[in-house]
Amino acid sequence: MKRTTTRARLARVAATAAVALAIAGCGTSSGGGDSGGSGDEGSGTGEAAGFTPPDIPMAQKLGAGEGEVDILAWPGYAEDGSNDPNYDWVTPFEKETGCQANVKYFATSDEAVNLMKTGEYDVVSASGDASLRMVASGDVAPVNTDLIPNYADLYDYLKDRDWNSVNGQMYGVPHGYGANLLMWRTDVVKPAPTSWSVVFDGASEYAGKVTAYDSPIYIADAALYLMKTQPDLGIKNPYALDQDQLAAAVDLLKKQRENVGEYWSDYLKEVQAFTTGDTVVGTTWQVIANVAEGEKVPVDVTLPEEGATGWSDTWMVAAEAKHPNCAYMWMNHIVSPEANAAVAEYFGEAPANPKACDIAAKGHCETFHAGDEEYASQIHYWTTPIPQCIDGRTDVTCTDYGDWTQAWTEVKG
């Protein structure tokens, strides 16, 4: 008896589920199997970016501020003095423009892309591995640089690059750039490393205490190392990998995985791991080294001889920004000499505005090689991998970010 009632109940549950399925199914267009990604659409144009962005109107003139602005930023890019009273460039902005700044920090580029889709943010600081994806999905609008007085001052070699513009149209304001560095505990790792080999071929020496950045984009670090150590693989650009090259990078990362204690994406978690000694060597950002040194942890950083991957960040405005005027005012403010100098110092990167170097701490711009176009060209800036090889090869198809994501899951195992 009991059995039948249970079965009847199950039948009812199944019926409810079926209704739910039917309702949800209404939103589905069951068209053909071919999904024709936007990566394919522009393949005929021969553009490096390889796609035609959706037509989003550009702001033509600015009105009065809307009273607030929702900012999506990398940690340390919008400080209001609450972390360190010496670093506050949000309060002056609020006083000057009357726009109340609501700041949300994100940890990875992927998170930024995701959060921009919610439509709740007006401006975002996007690295090269996020910017084009947001352009392609229509989440950000072209930027009218004439409306940003400080834009004219910025280094020319940061303008019209393939991570911040499409077909000659700027999609944002360059903000600053830097390299992913190698950090180590000076009391454990001796002699001081000068090559990434300490985390790849030589990683077994520090088995269980190596760290790496927890994102598919870290595959580019392995590719860069292979580019220098195994030239016969023919890697020209760490973001343009065909199937075989990706497989080689994945193999290298799988070997590294045996020696990795943990991967980091939360920068405070990395500081803690270096503090306790659970991690002694691995990739890092300058800001992390600064925090660790501030806590008296014996660490040092270097830009290894193979070169490094890095970021070149761009402030972009949302396609459906609720506060476009305040957003433009923010973009103008963040590249003003004062704010740009403060961010560059706090985060540890080269500012985009040469005038910031007059204000920043003495030697800062030298340390980060601001204005040194030669140095800047040695950093391989984060770029979203797409099927059209961005190194110019046309005889093969490159692996895209989806492939990288899956490969990264396999690496971690």
Binding site: V13, T16, S29, S35, A136, G261, T276, T405
Partner: protein, 283 residues
């Protein structure tokens, strides 16, 4: 108004039950249905936009790529180990609380078991991160015995999860043992049974539904966890991490949905097995 309700019991019952039923049906089963639907969609690899075309690709990837099988098995193994560890530790504690302790001590122990539930999950996980670290409390305690901290990894994850879910195992077992009258134990002794036999033939059958209820908690909570493993799991990942990474990092909702059906299926199988034992009817 109250007259109308008084005269029409059907309406009364309907009003009373509609909100919770809607909650269950729409918010819960509806979400599960939407999850399953989403898992049959595709995704544009570049922009991350969901493409609403029917495809089984997500499930094909799930089955074809070894790493997902490895992660599933690892998660399953961790969930089972956590459940066993919790059961082994919880049974003596619950038995002591229910049958041996004075009522005053019982109250104190009950509070002691419940208190950790008032502290944030994250605080406890990070506390374990500190204890398990190099030169942390665990390695300091283990050193005199020539041992060391297990370091961050699967062992640390199992340990932390077993700690986190312990109250959920102790309480149902305790509740079931509370219902066991002392006279039964005395009768068993009078009939000449040794304590082991009493435990096996009197205590265990009474305790069993509680044990099953506890195991459902510990097992399913572990199966879905992804935070603890990020904090103390070192480089290892569980099913929850794959779902999280695909939602957060890759923004591949369809694949995340496909992956999320795996623990749902495992739990359904587990519940089906449990139902066969009949324990659910005695809860």
């Amino acid at each position: 108004m109250s007259n109308v309700l008084h005269r029409r019991p059907g309406l009364r019952l309907g009003l009373l039950l509609t909100p919770p039923m809607l909650w269950l049906g729409v918010a819960y089963l509806g979400a599960l249905g939407a999850l399953f639907i989403t898992s049959l969609w595709g995704q544009n690899a570049f922009t991350g936009e969901v493409e609403r075309t029917w495809t089984l690709d997500n499930f094909r990837t799930l089955l074809d790529v070894d790493v997902y099988r490895v992660i599933t098995l690892r998660t399953l193994a961790i969930a089972l180990t956590v459940t066993v560890v919790d059961a082994v530790v919880a049974i003596p504690i619950a038995l002591f609380m229910a049958k041996v302790a004075s009522s005053r001590l019982k109250g104190i122990l009950l509070v002691a078991v419940l208190t950790p539930l008032w502290a944030s999950y994250l605080v406890k996980a990070y506390a374990w991160r500190g204890m398990l670290s190099e030169n942390g409390l665990v390695s300091w305690l283990a050193r005199p015995f020539g041992l060391d901290t297990p370091g961050y990894g699967v062992v640390a994850t199992t340990l932390t999860l077993a700690y986190l879910w312990m109250p959920y195992m102790i309480l149902p077992i305790f509740a079931s043992l509370e219902r066991l009258p002392d006279s039964l134990l005395e009768a068993s002794a009078d009939l000449g049974a040794r304590s082991v036999e009493t435990l096996r033939r009197v205590v265990l059958p009474v305790m069993f539904p509680g044990l099953v209820a506890g195991s459902i908690f510990t097992f399913s909570l572990t199966l879905g966890d992804y935070i603890t493993v990020r904090i103390v799991g070192g480089a290892s990942q569980m099913l929850g991490n794959v779902v999280y990474d695909n939602v957060g990092a890759a923004n591949n909702l369809p694949f995340a949905a496909a992956m999320a059906t795996v623990p749902v299926v495992i739990i359904l199988v587990y519940l089906a097995l449990v139902r066969r034992t009949g324990a659910l009817e005695n809860l």
